[in-house]
């Protein structure tokens, strides 16, 4: 955690300087359901933001709005100064947005190495080059021993790591992790947290994290946005958000939904 001392002091979400990502009044409706209601935020480069809230708060919807798999009903999404509100997910990936999935999406008939090669070849690498370079990403997430195993043989935790390797192979500027510790056995979690810290500190990647466990969030995020029923309750430094009375009541105490 010492590397974090070199980081600028935490700023509230919405006040970050040099934003890499800005959401402006984003509203998402699914029929009569308002999943996100007038959500705005800005996120500075190399910062890490936690999206918090109880089940049904709209965290994953907001995550998908940034990743491009859900299009907002109204509002704008700006990444690195470019309006990407209507850009498809593939275009966002090319611009530098990568993601993992809450329910893992491995290419199950491919090996671990081939999963990563998909990302590398899609970015223009030759098969030979991708075959060699995939090992680096697989080793980085600690799956080196599984390199040429079918990805269908991986456990849930290993699949989460595979998705991380695959996302990193796109050389992202913004990495979005959706419950990266979900389904992972507890002894493996510190290793994952350490890997994520290295991503930010060594590679300068900006992070958005959706997680349920407060301990993980404190270890992973500088800033947080707390959502409840689609609306922003509070945003700012993670400790400030965690100490907010509404957050303590809804999230850390007995959640009301």
């Amino acid at each position: 955690m010492t590397a974090d001392l070199a980081e600028p002091a935490a700023r509230p979400a919405g006040l970050s300087a040099d934003p890499i990502l800005a959401l402006e009044h984003v509203t998402v409706r699914f029929g009569g359901l308002v999943a996100n209601d007038d959500v705005s935020l800005t996120l500075g480069e190399r910062r890490s933001l936690a999206l918090m809230g109880p089940n049904g708060a709209g965290k994953t919807t907001l995550f998908n709005v940034v990743a491009g798999s859900v299009r907002p009903t109204s509002g704008r999404v700006v990444f690195a100064g470019q309006d990407i509100t209507t850009a498809p997910a593939s275009e966002r990936s090319r611009l530098g947005i990568a993601r993992t999935f809450q329910i893992t999406q491995p290419f199950s008939t491919l090996t671990v190495r081939e999963n990563v090669m998909v990302a590398l070849t899609a970015a223009g690498a030759s098969m030979k080059d991708a075959h060699a370079r995939a090992r680096d990403y697989v080793d980085f997430v600690g799956l080196g021993l599984k390199l040429d195993d079918p990805s269908s043989t991986l456990s849930t935790g290993q699949r989460k790591r595979l998705e991380l390797a695959r996302a990193l192979a796109t050389r992202p500027r913004l990495l979005m992790l959706d419950e990266v510790t979900g389904g992972v056995d507890r002894p493996s979690i510190p290793g994952i947290i350490d890997t994520i810290h290295r991503l930010r500190d060594e590679r300068g990647i900006t992070l958005i994290v959706v997680e349920h466990h407060m301990d993980f969030l404190r270890a992973l995020a500088d800033e947080a946005l707390f959502l409840h029923r689609g609306q922003v309750v509070v945003g700012g430094p993670i400790e400030t958000v965690a100490a907010h009375p509404t957050v303590r009541n809804i999230y850390l105490g007995d959640a009301d939904d």
């Binding site: 709209g58 798999s69 491919l110 456990s155």
Partner: protein
């Protein structure tokens, strides 16, 4: 890609090609060789269809339309217009590829597989009805006969003739097309194209999140798949020299070719080849059983599906081991 290609796919393909090339020298029966020619043509058809159906995972059920488009285009342009079949074959391929791209555009907007199946099936029915009713040009169900064979060629002083009665030349040409198409498809599947297709099949969401342009990739796969099927249609037209709308774009063609792919192994490279061999032979063998033919045919296909759910090609590929124990299951989805 091992579950798609098996191990040592180039060696396997070379062995299959060698065994097939030896057939005219060991089989002294023109009828059996005729069956093998049909097998070679249908194997190309099945492999082309399998690109979208199995490798890309799109449940397209209208590829017999591309077979008919390839067959009728080359038959009409050579027979009626008078162009060389060596040229019109490729015009048929082009027409099928364009039709593939055309049907690909609405398919891209449909995420529900049953709807993809219905739209493609309807497309094939439209093509069949057009061919059946455009009688001035196609002669409808009376059949387009007298289609010219490929003109003879001379190699090293030997004249090679093609067409219905010319078994040796027709076999050589069908084998050449079989080897060329399968070598091309294998080369593509072992490269970026193959990885992209399988990635889209396994998870469109993840594929798109890794910069894969779904529209471009699917359209390319549709066009290539239709082109290969169109090529098989052209070879069929100039070999049998007679076509009818029902025999090319009818439901029996759909069922037979689907059965070949399923029995051989959907989504595997070698599956359609094995399926085409088994079912072409079975169809011909069962002709003498009259009314019992379709019953035995159906029972055989059912038996294969029960005993070999991953198809004949499944025997060549390793099964993945079950997921390792110890980790908790994934959490439930939320908004």
């Amino acid at each position: 890609m091992r579950s798609v290609l098996g191990s040592r796919p180039w060696l396997t393909l070379a062995l299959i090609a060698l065994v097939l090339a030896a057939m005219p020298f060991v089989i002294d029966d023109n009828y059996l060789l005729h069956i093998l020619i049909l097998f070679l043509i249908f194997a190309v058809f099945a492999t082309g269809w399998n690109l979208t159906l199995g490798i890309l995972g799109q449940k397209t059920l209208g590829h017999h339309a591309f077979f008919a488009i390839g067959a009728y285009t080359t038959a009409l342009l050579s027979g009626t217009v008078g162009l060389s079949p060596w040229l019109t074959l490729w015009l048929g391929v082009l027409a099928a590829a364009l039709a593939g791209g055309l049907i690909g555009i609405p398919i891209l907007r449909i995420r529900s597989m049953p709807h993809v199946a219905i739209v493609t099936l309807a497309f094939a029915e439209i093509v069949k009805l057009l061919l059946a009713n455009w009688k001035d040009v196609t002669r409808g169900e009376l059949g387009l006969w007298g289609i010219p064979p490929f003109p003879a060629i001379e190699i090293g002083g030997t004249t090679i003739r093609f067409g219905a009665g010319q078994i040796a030349g027709s076999f050589a040409l069908a084998l050449l097309a079989f080897v060329a198409v399968h070598a091309l498809v294998l080369w593509l599947l072992r490269g970026r194209f193959g990885l992209t297709m399988v990635a889209i099949r396994d998870s469109q969401l993840a594929a798109e999140s890794l910069s894969i342009d779904l529209t471009r990739s699917k359209l390319a796969a549709f066009a290539l798949s239709a082109a290969i099927v169109g090529l098989s249609g052209g070879l069929y037209a100039h070999y049998l020299q007679i076509l009818t709308p029902t025999s090319t774009a009818g439901p029996e063609m759909l069922v037979t070719l689907l059965a070949m792919i399923i029995l051989g192994g959907v989504g595997t490279f070698f599956g359609p080849i094995f399926g085409a061999l088994v079912l072409t032979a079975l169809t011909e063998y069962l002709r003498e059983y009259g009314d019992l033919r379709m019953l035995i045919y159906g029972a055989t296909v059912t038996l294969f599906v029960i005993l070999l759910p991953r198809g004949v090609a499944g025997l060549l590929t390793r099964r993945g081991r079950p997921a390792a124990a110890g980790d908790e299951p994934a959490t439930a989805p939320e908004t």
